[in-house]
């Protein structure tokens, strides 16, 4: 069943005619799109520096730095930074990832200069004041303590350690208490000095501002930034699948519910079968009330409040997993149900109706995902990160509709071997049931 494109709807989909893309001489790529319905502006972006740069001993360093950038600059101390931002209802924040460090900022249009100035200052001239850094360290450590008590977060961590053993994806970007304790002020300064720079940085600006004006504002703050030390992105080693199915269970005292993850590594975003895998995942564990998995685990069996699957293809082979939160006595039942669904998914073609439903879903939800400035900024960053082309969202219906049932089964079988899945559970000590 094909989709008729509603011309009105698709007139508002970003494309080459309304996205301004400029590469500054120092390598920064600026993407801008106007939305004059909005009196505010969203500024989002990333730099090619992340947890991959961390040593095992100081795991969490890149993430630590991303949070430390806002703690003081050569021109403003912590309170001044936030006083300037919060006084005008603006926001700015950084967050560390595996491959990149991202940022998001937002302000009213008239306050964009302030926001841009702060973005440039925090990136280029952070001072990492000791008192602030120690305060931040205590906050990060408390965050890690809370993580150690969070069954979903610990199941995710256990899963990554299991599936990606020996691969950088096995490591937590936030680090661990002992690695956060090991990081010195000097580490922060050195890491920033060597790794933060303009090459590979991408900034998207969306809102009530002329795109050229947005480019000029960024250029005036960041075009003279250079860092001769900036290293190339580290390459990823090959990922090796598990030789057989393995289950790891982590006990956390005093909890009522267990969280479980089942899966393996999936495709990279650039893999030719990514779209087929993504549509397939939608059928497996997302569409409607969380796809086939939600249907059997929640709707038919009443065994969980949430049960779904997720495919996180990025610059590398991100995880392809099913998750559920269940009563500890039902762990095995739910694992069996999900395993059955995965088996069916890799051995039987999805139905024509399932495929056309998911294709319609993918195409139909595009306008909704692009209604806000933040949605458009995020979508433009995806274009750049994965080199999809400025016309990608306009070609998107065609790309989605080109996927066949056979493509989905081939993609599923390519990644999901039901005999070699990793299972990670975090929950209270096991009660037999």
């Amino acid at each position: 069943m094909g989709i008729n494109l509603n011309q009105t709807a698709f007139g508002s989909i970003p494309g080459p005619e309304d996205i301004t893309r400029v590469e500054l001489a120092n390598g920064i790529i600026v993407l801008a799109r106007a939305n004059f319905n909005s009196p505010s502006v969203m500024v989002s972006g990333y730099l090619p520096v992340g947890g991959l740069f961390d040593s095992d001993e100081k795991l969490g360093l890149a993430d630590f730095i991303s949070a430390a950038l806002m703690r003081g600059t050569a021109k403003r101390d912590f309170q001044k930074i936030y006083d300037d931002l919060e006084s005008v209802g603006a926001s700015l924040g950084f967050g560390g990832g595996t491959h990149t460090t991202g940022f998001n900022g937002r302000s009213m249009v008239e306050d964009l200069d302030l926001l841009m100035g702060l973005l440039a200052e925090t990136l280029r001239q952070p001072t990492f004041p000791e008192e602030q850094i120690e305060r931040l360290r205590a906050q990060l450590l408390t965050g890690l303590e809370l993580r150690s008590q969070n069954t979903a977060a610990m199941a995710a961590l256990t899963f990554d350690e299991l599936i990606y053993a020996g691969h950088p994806y096995s490591r937590s970007e936030e680090g661990h208490p002992e690695t956060i304790q090991a990081i010195t002020l000097q580490d922060l300064e050195t890491f920033h000095h060597l790794n933060y720079g303009p090459r590979g940085m991408v900034i998207a600006v969306v809102g009530g501002i002329d795109p050229q004006e947005a480019v000029d504002k960024i250029s005036s703050k960041l075009s003279d930034w250079h860092n001769p030390h900036q290293p190339p992105s580290p390459s990823l080693p090959e990922w090796t699948p598990l030789e057989k199915g393995v289950t790891n269970r982590l006990e956390i005292q005093g909890k009522s519910q267990s969280d479980l993850f089942i899966g393996t590594a999936g495709p990279m975003r650039s893999s030719p079968d990514y779209m087929a895998a993504s549509l397939g995942n939608n059928i497996l564990g997302r569409f409607g009330m969380m796809g086939r998995i939600g249907e059997v685990v929640r709707v038919q069996s009443g065994l969980a409040y949430y049960a779904y699957s997720s495919l996180n293809g990025g610059l590398g082979p991100g995880p392809w997993t099913a998750m559920a939160g269940v009563n500890p006595t039902n762990e095995k039942k739910v694992v069996n149900l999900i395993e059955q669904e995965i088996k069916r998914f890799v051995t039987e073609l999805v139905s024509e109706e399932e495929l056309s439903d998911s294709q319609s879903n993918y195409i139909g939800r595009l306008p909704l995902s692009l209604e806000s400035n933040a949605g458009v900024a995020g979508a433009m960053l995806v274009l750049e990160r994965y080199q999809l082309g400025l016309d990608y969202y306009q070609r998107y219906p065609e790309l989605v509709n080109a996927v066949t049932r056979q493509d989905i089964m081939a993609a599923a079988a390519n990644y999901l071997d039901p005999e070699r899945l990793g299972i990670a559970v975090a929950g209270p000590p096991k009660i037999q049931g």
């Binding site: 209802g89 408390t142 009443g302 439903d357 139909g364 909704l368």
Partner: protein
């Protein structure tokens, strides 16, 4: 917020609010019912939330699974929320597909089947939802504090309900609750987005006019007597982190003091907004952040004031720094509150709070779903004019007003202090 809002009542009492917004080819519909956990007696606590779950199980015309697939096929989303005062159902869809949601909401206002097997299967889903909540220390603390703060008023129990009731409630209990409250004269239909008002209204009349009005049970919540002395409680549980929470009895949404308390909250703990979608901003220059986080007594602080039908709570939640004690935090908190009692805040601080609220409105306006949310929300405890005058009312608050409401509400005898103490049993 400039375009006109059409506001009218159908003959059966259904209140309709419509707002055309033509910035994106989307429409968002919210159907609100005046029923929430406050309308539940012991024995059926959690019924409103469970009814909300059952309304996703379908009707004869739209059997379970049909609708969620149809909405997903069109690229829309739908959801529902149950609160202490209200229950709401929302659908956001491409503009040319909204008719499906209108038809469905008209149908499930009275025709949800509440199949017995599905009630049983949903029982375990909701118990699982509650167990997921119980994994969170702050839920454990909240539940005890709400019970301590309300000893007479039905705000005493959590929306999800007590485990004993979740285990024992019957299909009949739920169905009776549903039929009692799901009536056009107990509902508000709010729609915002890319439509023509005349056509939309005609369609609403076709679908909803014939649904008969009924006798809605009176909302006879017993008023909570004034608290006369501080209540303190401790909850212990797993983990290594201590939490402290202060809950002050606060005025209802329509009380004139509500706006002054909203401004006070901005000064004390950071900007608050009425956004359901669209995010917020940080609170690092708020008085409590400076007094608690910057002095390493806590690692975080946040606060919230809810607009409710009856007086509810102003909650301040703090994560205690590992090197300090809850008692030290209470001392510092009280010192900041005393400062509000003793010294009038600067006009610049108030102006800043209003600017922040305006910016947050601008961010929230980008989402059609959020605009539609705003339309109906204020009707649940007041009316739409409350929302329309919100920013003006904030701007009218004077420094003396802030001082006065601080003295009136933020006293020790008006609060419950709760501490979550980790038992370090790992």
């Amino acid at each position: 917020m400039d375009s006109k809002v059409v506001n009218l009542k159908l003959s059966n009492g259904l209140l309709v609010l419509l707002k055309e917004i033509h910035t994106a080819p989307l429409v968002s519909q919210w159907l609100w019912y005046r029923v929430g956990s406050r309308d539940e007696e012991p024995g059926i606590t959690g019924a409103s939330h469970w009814v909300e779950h059952m309304l996703f199980k379908g009707t004869e015309e739209f059997p379970g699974g049909v609708l969620d697939k149809a909405i997903a096929r069109y690229g829309g989303f739908w959801n529902a929320m149950t609160y202490i005062d209200w229950t709401t159902y929302l659908e956001t869809l491409p503009a040319d597909k909204i008719d499906l949601a209108l038809r469905f909401e008209a149908d499930r206002m009275g025709n949800s089947t509440f199949d017995k097997d599905e009630v049983d299967s949903e029982r375990t889903v909701i118990i699982s939802e509650r167990q997921g909540n119980e994994n969170n220390p702050l839920f454990l603390l909240d539940e005890k504090m709400q019970a301590a703060a309300f000893q007479v008023h039905p705000y005493t129990h959590e929306v999800i309900g007590d485990m004993a009731d979740l285990e024992s409630m019957s299909r009949e209990d739920l169905y009776t609750h549903y039929r009692a409250y799901y009536l056009p004269n107990n509902a508000v239909l709010a729609i915002a987005g890319d439509f023509e008002t005349d056509k939309m209204l005609a369609r609403i009349r076709e679908l909803f006019d014939d649904i008969p009005a009924g006798d809605v049970p009176p909302r006879k919540a017993r008023p909570e007597p004034k608290q006369t002395e501080e209540r303190r409680l401790t909850v212990s549980g797993p983990g290594e982190t201590t939490f402290l929470k202060a809950s002050y009895h606060a005025p209802e949404g329509t009380d004139p003091d509500f706006f002054a308390l909203t401004v006070l909250d901005s000064l004390l703990a950071g900007p608050s907004s009425l956004n359901m979608f669209g995010g917020g901003i940080s609170n690092k220059t708020s008085r409590l952040y400076r007094a608690l986080v910057e002095r390493e007594l806590t690692v975080s602080v946040s606060a919230g004031l809810q607009a409710t039908i009856d007086p509810y709570l102003y909650n301040i939640t703090m994560t205690v720094h590992p090197e300090t004690s809850p008692e030290d935090v209470i001392t510092a908190l009280d010192k900041e509150i005393k400062r509000l009692f003793d010294t009038v805040a600067g006009a610049d601080e108030l102006a800043r709070a209003v600017k922040q609220a305006r910016a947050l409105f601008a961010y929230g306006s980008e989402s059609i779903s959020n605009q539609a949310f705003w339309l109906g929300f204020a009707e649940m405890f007041g009316n739409y004019e409350w929302f329309q005058s919100y920013l003006d009312k904030l701007a009218e608050v004077s420094p003396q007003d802030v001082q006065r409401v601080a003295q009136k509400y933020l006293t020790p005898q008006n609060r419950v202090l709760g501490i979550y103490l980790p038992d370090n049993n790992n």
